[in-house]
Symmetry: C2
Subunit: 222 residues, 2 copies
């Protein structure tokens, strides 16, 4: 049985869970708290980070981008990268946008400051970070809205890894009620379409003890 | 003519320059100071980050990973990803290690604190960051050394994108004299082999006004 070591509110874990779900690759989820620095987990991934994917034959892959490219190369359809190289570059650019820029400017400031810090017993949230994250998310949401005015999905006509990377980050924020959806109806509409896909269901059932999700989080008609 | 918008001490720009050099893809380099937020550059890449690659037909690609995958798919040999999917995943994992973990724990703390902050006139380096970066680089260098004990190149038998990602970051540090090569002879030997490749020469000729490189930086027998 395939296994994925993950953390419920890790956007990188969520991206891989969405890709596995969309491709209908059955995988056992194993929750891992990276800050425990469990020795057997560090043997799987010396970076000490989730997600880590273990394939049926025991082959281990770390790094969410490496896992997604591996599933794209070896897994079943649907393909989540377009066939044209320039279109593939656009999908990878946007996945990189969320995994790097959005992560640094928003996810770290909001989700990690408020949720991870408390789970790790690493002190109180830094209010300057939270304020910066709340300001930055608006800019990113407007960018999603702007892209969606001329496109069917984030990177073009086809649903791609870009949509899942973006939705993975935004869904972590949405769990905490930190997405001001009202500022961009096209972004909200795009997210509603993703949220109603079967691959999204397990994420909507996530529950972090001590941090209940906001009521609209699992509501498809939010 | 192809063009690459880059910054000399940006590790992500350097990774792409090395890949272009190794594949012998002739490209005009255009220096871009991302913090100037030049409007024509923001039109090319709304993320406002280097590198940005413009192909012969005017197609624009941003994000260093997207550019490298594009060059791998469309450019000439040598291929910088192995043919086996698990080996490809290992090369991508290690490229991700340097572009994400090493970047966050070392490059940001050393190169950005001391060089970029001054170029941007954004104040003095934070000594706690510099201290953390100087400590962290040792751990990463030991990891490179450990990998090289059983491998020909970083990700296995074949020279790959992992070597160029790692060398791109380490070369920025080395410009400033921040790599304690003496702690890991296998890591030093690996870097010396990379440094003597023709694709490395333009990087060794880089000069940042006001920040001369350390004398050993361009010395192949350092």
């Amino acid at each position: 049985m395939r296994r994925l070591f993950h953390l419920p509110l890790s956007p990188f874990s969520r991206k891989v869970r969405l890709v596995l779900g969309e491709k209908r690759i059955e995988t056992e989820l194993v929750e891992e708290l990276p800050w425990d620095r469990r020795i057997d987990f560090l043997r799987l991934n010396p970076a000490g980070e989730v997600p880590v994917f273990v394939d049926e034959d025991g082959q281990t892959i770390a790094d969410s981008t490496a896992i997604c490219e591996y599933l794209e190369e070896t897994g079943p359809t649907p393909l989540l990268l377009p066939s044209d190289s320039i279109d593939r570059a656009e999908a990878r650019r946007l996945a990189g946008w969320f995994d790097s820029k959005f992560h640094r400017e928003v996810t770290v400031n909001l989700v990690y400051e408020r949720v991870n810090k408390r789970l790790m017993k690493a002190g109180y949230p830094d209010s300057a970070c939270v304020k910066a994250g709340a300001k930055n998310v608006k800019y990113h949401l407007e960018y999603v809205g702007w892209l969606m005015e001329g496109r069917n999905w984030l990177a073009g006509d086809q649903l791609s890894i870009a949509d899942f990377a973006a939705a993975a980050h935004l869904s972590c924020l949405d769990y905490c009620g930190d997405v001001p959806w009202e500022i961009s109806p096209p972004a909200k509409d795009w997210y509603a379409r993703l949220k109603s896909r079967p691959c999204f269901r397990p994420l909507l059932a996530d529950h972090i003890p001590g941090f209940p999700s906001k009521p609209h989080y699992s509501d498809l008609d939010f």
